[in-house]
Amino acid sequence: MSRRRHLLRYLASRLALVPLMLWLIASLVFLLLRVAPGDPIDALLGMRAPPEARAALRAQLGLDQPLPVQYGRYLMDLLHGQLGDSLTNNEPVTAVIGHSLPASLELGVVALLIAALVGLAVGFSGVARPEGKTDLAGRLYGIGTYALPPFWAAMVMQLVFAVWLGWLPVGGRFPATLVPPSGTGFYLLDSLLAGSSQQFWGAMRHLVLPASTLGLLLSGVFANALRLNLRRALDSDYVEAARSRGLSERRVVLRHALPNALLPVLTITGITVASLIGGALLIEVTYSWPGVAFRLQEAIGQRDYPVVQGIVVVVAALVVAVSVLVDLLVALLDPRVSF
């Protein structure tokens, strides 16, 4: 069978598993939410309402129905592409996700760019002199970013750049006194499309701190991955062969070692992208970034079942899609991969 047919079969088998995975995730989140103590009425009204009023509201929201009935209705809605309405404000969950997902994606994409640029630069910088000062500093940087608790790093950045220096805003996604641009939900893109430099810089100022924090925290992964793989590649036979042919060290590194070292980095990028779609919860919460993770955290606190279920299912679908895509990309780029 040709490689292309193998690839298609591999893709089909991965895609066939997607509905099963989504059903499992949807069922798990449904069950876990119901098993967790307390329900939306407890979260909304606390101790304030009398028992009769609580029971009436429970019935109004359909939470008095037997669990199998609620589950059946939930699955039927999912099959029809409906995620339900929020229990706190009756807003369709698709709209809630539509508002918050672009914020997470915008933050994720910029953070990933920063992580890749900084991480690859740091990882690459030690290659000239292994075990030298730069290499050691790079290793320390990689370990340091692993070890830093994200919320602590975010708070320190916030304190230094927003409170002490006053250079950048403390949190939020857009200046309070400006009207956000409408369109795709990606404020940088929308403000560029609208041709408004005021909006663009406003959005950019709010994005810099969260994206830099997240990017720098993730960059250690890239730095270490590149460093290790590049070292391995430079020690391999084909690099020795290239050197023995009299190629310059620069050419050996850039043309022979680096492309091979970058393949595992691509897999890491895929995993990182997948985790960023779910949002970097602590970063979003610390910077009051209105992304999907921030909304999910709120919805869990409010026991807003449809919103939690909807966000988890959509994020799971996106994560699955990204991981399939990355697998395919790696398979296409690396002839050694068999499937």
Partner: protein, 524 residues
């Protein structure tokens, strides 16, 4: 060489970029203010709103029929005069103002008020406000509202001061008569809502407002999700005013200090929230009255208030917080370790036998945890030979769900009234529909987790609902004295709302319901 070049390039790119961004601050439009708080807002529709942030917003974009001023006095707002009550106390007629317009230009009248109240009764999550007290609503004239009451209720004007009952334009809400309108609001308030997202709402003055115009040219309400960010935003000048709701005591204290140094101005409102202990009185160990009374004498409120909140959560020995009627003199005893020791001894403890006091607190509420740990240390220090506190944390929704099942021998809760009246603090804890001696079998006292009642208590509560003014006061005091003697509830502290503003602004002021008066915010 390569790495040095990389470093220099990065520095040469980053520094101008940061300088450029730092210089790109968008100035506030003149006269407009940014007010920050912690809570997000899922909806601006009164039928959805249950939390502080929503009620705060409604108080600026809506109007109640009556309002409580900072001194606790009720005054008509959209009502033209106090309600006229029928001789049997079951019908209330409320004359309405004739000069009020909704933000969409339509006229406010009795029909609009009926529309709004009926919508609230049938759809609102806080519909319980009216369910228990009002059986019907109708327009008895173009500008006269008639309410049929289930029983005589003297606190009706206070109930109608609840901002949740603000009128909505029937024209604007025609399509949303039976469902929520989460992101738009058309009411009668001094501001109109221009835009709304869960994290930001923009309010501009309503030019045709019937009352005094706001002293600023607009308000931007923003949400920052943590206390540190809120503190930083005010200190760095990013926001003009900061509300205390949800802020941690450390930061509140630091802001109060800055206010004392003249670097900020501070406003404090009337306390609307109380923190209290509920003791399960119909089961061991707290079925013994001496033990409950011993606990009431064991609480060093001053110390706890200072250690937990630097005094921001003021000690409270009454279920009704000041300045409401019946709050003074306080009915609960002061800290008295000597008397507590006697009572523990009476119950068989102290002589080589320590009573294990089981306290449950809400683990997701930081102040509750600090209260539990501080009290534990205080008891260990002062009454360590008689009692030891065993603390357990549970998530708040679990606590709310299980409290009516009698799951917690002693639990720490807070309570915020929906409108400022003593009844709204006493009835939810003391009312009992069915009692057997000192045990409440059915009613609010059972739902609140104390299961405590006393002969004649319910009759006193009902009498208090009928009376008003000076005639009501002795009854309110008696109710509290009886509750204090029963010691099934022990008030601990009260929480007053605070706000801090930049020194260039006027001192923030609060209304009698504890809401920041946004229209009064202005530059000095």
């Amino acid at each position: 060489m390569t790495s040095r070049l990389l470093f220099r390039t990065a520095l040469a790119t980053l520094l101008p970029a940061v300088a450029l961004l730092a210089g790109c601050q968008h100035p506030h439009p003149p006269g407009q203010l940014v007010v920050a708080s912690k809570s997000t807002l899922a909806s601006v529709d009164p039928i959805d709103i249950t939390g502080t942030a929503g009620l705060q917003l409604l108080s600026a974009i809506g109007d109640p029929l009556y309002a409580t001023d900072a001194g606790g006095q009720l005054e008509p707002r959209l009502a033209a005069a106090p309600p006229q009550i029928s001789p049997d106390g079951r019908i209330a007629r409320i004359p309405l103002r004739r000069d009020v317009l909704f933000h969409d230009g339509s006229r406010f009248d009795a029909a609009a008020m009926v529309f709004s109240l009926e919508r609230f009764r049938s759809l609102a999550k806080m519909g319980y406000l009216l369910d228990d007290r009002i059986s019907g609503v109708r327009a008895s004239g173009p500008y006269e509202l008639e309410l049929q009451l289930k029983r005589p209720y003297s606190a009706l004007p206070a109930l109608l001061s609840s901002i949740s009952l603000t009128p909505l334009s029937p024209k604007a809400y025609q399509q949303h008569r039976n469902r929520s309108l989460a992101d738009r609001f058309v009411g009668t308030g001094p501001y109109r809502l221009v835009s709304s997202t869960p994290q930001k709402q923009t309010l501009l003055p309503f030019a045709r407002y019937w009352g005094p115009a706001p002293r600023n040219s607009g308000i931007h309400l923003v949400t920052l999700s943590n206390s540190t960010a809120l503190f930083g935003a005010l200190v760095s000048g990013e926001v003009d005013v900061l509300m205390s709701s949800g802020m941690e005591s450390d930061q509140q204290r630091a802001l109060a200090q800055r206010a004392r140094q003249g670097r900020l101005v501070e406003g404090i409102g009337p306390a609307g929230e109380i923190g209290y202990l509920t003791l399960l009185s119909d089961r061991p160990p707290f079925d013994q009255l001496p033990l409950r009374q011993a606990v009431a004498h064991s609480l060093d409120r001053e110390l706890i208030s200072e250690r937990v909140s630097y005094g921001i959560r003021a000690p409270l020995r009454s279920l009704v917080p000041p300045p409401l009627a019946g709050s003074t003199p306080p009915a609960w005893p002061t800290y008295n370790p000597g008397r507590a020791r006697e009572l523990y001894q009476q119950a068989g403890y102290c002589r080589g036998r320590r009573f294990t006091l089981p306290l449950t607190f809400r683990s997701n509420v930081p102040a509750d945890k600090l209260f539990a740990l501080t009290w534990k240390a205080q008891l260990e220090r002062d009454l360590g030979d008689c009692v030891q506190l065993e603390v357990t944390g549970v998530e708040s929704t679990t606590a709310y769900r299980q409290v009516a099942d009698g799951a917690f021998p002693m639990i720490f809760f807070d309570w915020s009234a929906d409108f400022p009246d003593p009844d709204i603090y006493l009835a939810p804890m003391l009312a009992c529909n069915k009692a057997k001696g000192a045990q409440c079998l059915e009613g609010n006292a059972a739902a609140a987790g104390s299961f405590w009642s006393a002969p004649g208590l319910q009759a006193n509560l009902e009498a208090s609902e009928r009376l008003s003014g000076a005639a009501r006061l002795p009854l309110l005091l008696e109710l509290q004295q009886r509750a204090a003697a029963g010691a099934a509830y022990i008030p601990v502290w009260q929480v007053a709302p605070r706000a801090w503003a930049q020194p260039s602004l006027q001192r923030p002021v609060f209304d009698g319901s504890g809401r920041l008066v946004l229209q009064a915010l202005s530059v000095r």
